[in-house]
């Protein structure tokens, strides 16, 4: 039996747009489990990123309850949410969002020092993570605008992983990358997941979605269906076919 990491009940999110309310999420009930690589799929505008950012405390739901352990994060203040994010979450963004006025290494240290005051331990971990994602020291000392998109996104993953978060949230992590660098990023995420890291990834790319063991399909703000793919195995045709069938069933 898997441990529930995060639970959402009756989650709704509405935005005001031109005076009219737009209901992006509608009564979503969801549980995320420890060690899972959960993929949220759906068409553009289905509400997948909104769901992910509500679950991660980046945004507040309009209605509903989100619980992380004993903490009801939907009740937290903005600063409370910030503390929740730093202590429990890591984020990988489509646009990468490294701070371009500081070096790659400092980007990682900025997130790390927020939680961990033991600088030497932090530096050691950062170096291990950089090594794991295959970013050499010379690149670590460069600015984000001086490195490739793939290197930057892998550095973004190191930043997300530096505090050993309970959940790593990734929003279209390969969306801005070419095919090969996107693959490198997915491999990195898979490796971390295989080491026990819980991952929640939003994507509309089937190649990326195959990395997940659990696929949620969102349509018009509601979870339309769910598919269990099991442990990721590279070049597994059956896995591919199962996912294709699921997505077809969902109207993909």
């Amino acid at each position: 039996m898997k441990e529930i990491l995060l639970k959402a009940e009756k989650l709704s999110k509405s935005f005001s747009s031109g005076g009219a309310m737009q209901h992006v999420l509608k009564n979503v009930d969801l549980e995320l489990y420890e060690g899972d690589f959960t993929v949220i799929m759906g068409a553009s505008g289905a509400g997948k990123s909104t769901l992910m950012y509500a679950l991660s405390g980046m945004d507040t739901p309009t209605l509903g309850k989100i619980t992380f352990g004993d903490t009801v994060i939907s009740d937290l203040s903005q600063d409370g949410l910030a503390v929740f994010r730093r202590d429990h979450c890591g984020f990988v963004f489509q646009q990468i969002y490294l701070i371009d006025s500081m070096s790659v290494f400092d980007n990682v240290m900025t997130a790390g020092l927020l939680v961990n005051k033991d600088k030497s331990a932090l530096i050691k971990r950062a170096k291990e993570l950089f090594e794991a994602v295959d970013i050499p020291e010379t690149t670590q000392r460069k600015f984000s605008t001086q490195i490739s998109g793939g290197e930057a996104q892998r550095a973004g993953i190191v930043r997300a992983m530096i505090n050993s978060p309970e959940i790593l949230f990734a929003d279209e992590p390969t969306g801005a990358l070419n095919s090969q660098t996107g693959l490198d990023v997915l491999n990195t995420l898979t490796e971390f997941n295989e080491q026990g890291q819980s991952v929640v990834m939003v994507t509309h790319d089937m190649r990326s979605a195959r990395r997940g063991n659990r696929i949620l399909y969102l349509k018009d703000g509601s979870i339309l269906g769910e598919c269990e793919l099991g442990k990721y195995v590279p070049n597994d045709l059956a896995r591919h076919e199962k996912l294709s069938a699921f997505l077809k069933e969902m109207g993909w």
Binding site: S44, S49, D79, Y97
Partner: protein
């Protein structure tokens, strides 16, 4: 509407906050600039208008008459001089008088005139400014009707040479040349019955008061000297007191000069900050709007048109702000005018003045126009395609400042330091602002310590020597008087000092007011000697530093002095400074003076033991020596009464400059923080997404300003402590100050500097609270 104004309007709409901040800075500057110009250009002209309206004399003299032939002599002397165009000689009384003013005593030599005679004088008219129904009593200069001192119907208690008297105040009058105790002699007008009593009851000394208009006004000082010389040759026994146009225009406008000086300095400093902010604003605008600027160029706008639109935007806003500031200055001016009248004693009606308005608006517009042009010039270098594609590089990638893995700073401080080191424009703006404000704060602290809380340093600097009591006695009883002082247990120290209105002619120069002393080492205010030393021997003299500077007289030079027909050479032993004679005075030993003439009387300065009753002491001696005591003055009481005007003025100015400094800091911080938040909105969003709280980001933002705030405050305070006295000497040079000797309150300045830093930090924190509006969600890609 032209293309340029369309662009300008669009820019203003986009940057409302910056526009408001620039408006406030320009508004403050124009407010002070217009006040300064009104004070400098029209306020003194008001004296000229008053002087002309009353057909007042350029030279005035009051002679204590002991010879019946003197009046005819005086008339003939004035008639014979070609440089005197008109004159009036009146019978009067003179005498030192003491009365209550501003909570203390005021003592001055007074010319006492019959009211109707005074009003009908051809030269040196008086005008009644306020009158009641009382028909018997006294009319006071209008100065004494200000600040709740006297009202019509009040009893005016006055000590005259022959005792204490009480008169009913019938009204107030205005006189340009003798309407205040700042005029070397003041006047009181008596109703005819009371004037008769002056003679019948022997209340004051019979005198002649003459007012003369001269053809060459700038030479009025020399004419006075010549007249006195002529009188001294013919009537050496007659004591003469004079004043002249130059002296009065300066002495009646000391506070106006101080106020105008401070206002002008503040106006320029605030405008400087405004210009720095505008320049910084434009640089940021170009940086942020590079693609838009490229697009404008691409559709055919020339660089000149874009720059012209920016000039139109900033000059338009600044000129509008300047007009509002000028409007506000007219609301503030009546309050300043009221304070000024309490010192000038001349009525002034606030009226619209077009010239200061035009000058203020034109100056501010030209300065802003130049600042915008030079800041926006780089638009010429923008190539449209390049600009549209990528804008410009906003960061220097030469070095990763403050690497977090090796820095020993806490995280927030390290991140703040990174921002500091990458923000050159921000630092320059902060530095200039803080350097300027530091100077203002040290000035405020100096004024606080040297005037507001303790006026003694100011008195020491401008009023010269002082003791508890100053008693002038006839020479005939000097020995007995000195013996009385020696045997009085209340007397701690006494020494000969003064001469009152005794003058000495510098041959080839002007007439100098002389202070005669028997022992300079006993003087309480040794600081009055600003260079060299006091005279020690009978062939030495110490002269006013301003007079020496103006006439290139060096220490060690020999100067020729004369009284009447006698001339003697003296060696200049040093320079002195006090503003009583506006820098036209000297100190000489008794033996030195007596080589030229006998002293008409002697003045002793007396310090009493702690707790002794000064007034009681003076009264006792006055009773004992009767008419041989010519005046007995409680010096501290006089200082209190005349000093209170300056304390009030300086207090108001200090409060004003501190408040303005706070407003300036708030608006500069607002602009800088707003610019930073705009430029780094993405970074703030990322940091929030990573888990930085609003508090941490507010702290980081505020801290990023602190290195430049602290460094510039430290440098500013250190430099300002050295600058304040020289600057004050420049401001006060008109009244005879060549060396400002204010005690610079180092601790106070440090506290002021620390307060400044804390205030800037608080303001930066407050302004940085806008960071809470930055939501990490804004970073996220759309669904």
């Amino acid at each position: 509407m032209s293309k340029n104004s369309l662009l300008a309007r669009a820019n203003i709409r986009k940057a409302k906050g910056q526009t408001v901040a620039i408006v406030v800075l320009v508004l403050l500057s124009s407010l002070m600039m217009n006040l300064w110009l009104m004070l400098s250009m029209d306020y003194k002209k008001n004296f000229e208008r008053c002087h002309d309206r009353l057909n007042d004399g350029h030279v005035n003299l009051a002679a204590y008459v002991t010879n019946d032939d003197f009046e005819k002599f005086a008339s003939d002397m004035l008639k014979e001089r070609a440089d005197i165009t008109d004159f009036t000689v009146s019978n009067a009384f003179v005498g030192p008088l003491t009365f209550e003013y501003n909570g203390g005593d005021m003592t001055s030599l007074a010319v006492l005139l019959e009211k109707d005679d005074a009003l009908s004088r051809n030269v040196g008219k008086f005008e009644i400014t306020e009158e009641g129904s009382e028909k018997s009593g006294i009319y006071l200069p209008m100065l004494y009707g200000t600040r709740d001192n006297y009202s019509i119907g009040d009893k005016f208690k006055v000590t005259l040479p022959n005792g204490e008297y009480e008169y009913t105040v019938c009204g107030f009058f205005n006189s340009a040349m003798i309407g205040s105790h700042n005029c070397n002699m003041m006047s009181l007008l008596f109703t005819s019955d009371k004037f008769e009593e002056l003679l019948t009851d022997n209340i004051a000394w019979k005198a002649v008061y003459a007012s003369a208009r001269v053809s060459d006004v700038p030479k009025s000082e020399e004419i006075v000297a010549a007249l006195k010389d002529a009188i001294a040759k013919e009537f050496p026994e007659i004591s003469v007191t004079t004043n002249n146009y130059q002296m009065i225009t300066t002495s009646r406008y000391i506070s106006q000069s101080i106020c105008a000086g401070i206002l002008s300095a503040m106006a320029f400093l605030v405008l400087l900050i405004g210009v720095v902010v505008i320049c910084s604003n434009i640089a940021n605008y170009i940086q942020e709007n590079m693609p838009n600027l490229g697009a404008l160029k691409a559709i055919g706008y020339t660089s000149r048109q874009i720059i012209a639109s920016m000039i139109a935007q900033f000059v338009g806003v600044s000129a509008a702000a300047a007009v509002i500031g000028i409007g506000l200055s007219y609301l503030v001016f009546p309050a300043i005018n009221e304070m000024m009248i309490a010192q000038t004693g001349i009525p002034y009606t606030v009226r619209f003045q077009i010239f200061p308005v035009l000058l203020t608006v034109a100056f501010i517009s030209i300065v802003v126009c130049a600042a915008v042009y030079f800041s926006a010039k780089k638009i010429k270098k923008i190539e449209p395609i390049m600009a549209m594609r990528q804008g410009i590089v906003t960061h220097s990638f030469k070095k990763n400042r403050v690497p977090l893995d090796s820095s020993s700073m806490p995280l927030n401080a390290a991140l703040a330091m990174k921002t500091t080191l990458s923000g050159f424009k921000q630092n320059i703006t902060v530095c200039i602002t803080m350097l300027v404000i530091s100077l203002v704060m040290v000035f405020a602290a100096t004024m606080f310590g040297n005037v507001i809380t303790d006026i003694d340093p100011m008195i020491d600097m401008i009023a010269g020597e002082r003791a508890d009591s100053s008693i002038t006695v006839n020479l005939s009883i000097e020995d007995e008087f000195v013996s009385a002082l020696e045997n009085d247990s209340r007397v701690e120290k006494f020494y000969l000092f003064g001469g009152g209105s005794t003058e000495i002619q510098h041959v080839g120069g002007i007439s100098l007011y002389v202070s005669v002393t028997n022992d300079c080492s006993k003087l309480n205010n040794q600081g009055m000697s600003v260079e060299g030393r006091y005279p020690k021997y009978d062939n030495e003299i110490s002269i006013a530093a301003k007079y020496a500077k103006d006439n290139d007289i060096k220490i060690g030079d020999e100067i020729l002095l004369s009284v009447g027909n006698k001339q003697e050479k003296y060696i200049v032993s040093g320079y002195t400074q006090n503003t009583n004679a506006l820098g036209k005075d000297c100190i000489i030993t008794r033996e030195g003076y007596e080589k030229l003439a006998e002293l008409p009387n002697v003045c002793y300065y007396i310090d009493l033991i702690e707790g002794a009753d000064i007034d009681g002491f003076n009264d006792e001696l006055s009773d004992r020596f009767g008419g041989d005591i010519l005046s007995a003055i409680n010096v501290y009481s006089i200082i209190e009464s005349s000093g209170s005007v300056y304390v009030l003025l300086v207090t108001v100015l200090v409060i004003a400059v501190v408040l303005i400094s706070c407003i300036v800091i708030i608006f500069v911080m607002y602009l800088l923080v707003r610019t930073m938040l705009n430029n780094k909105k993405r970074d703030y969003g990322i940091l929030k997404a990573l888990g930085f709280t609003t508090g941490q980001l507010v702290l980081q933002t505020a801290m990023s300003f602190m290195p430049s705030v602290i460094i510039s405050a430290v440098i500013g305070i250190a430099v300002s402590t050295q600058l304040v006295n020289p600057l004050l000497a420049v401001f006060l040079s008109g009244i005879g100050v060549v060396k400002s000797t204010f005690i610079i309150p180092v601790a106070g300045s440090i506290i002021a500097g620390a307060g400044l830093v804390l205030f800037a930090f608080g303001a930066a924190c407050l302004m940085s609270l806008r960071v809470r509006k930055i939501a990490p969600r804004e970073l996220l890609a759309g669904e």
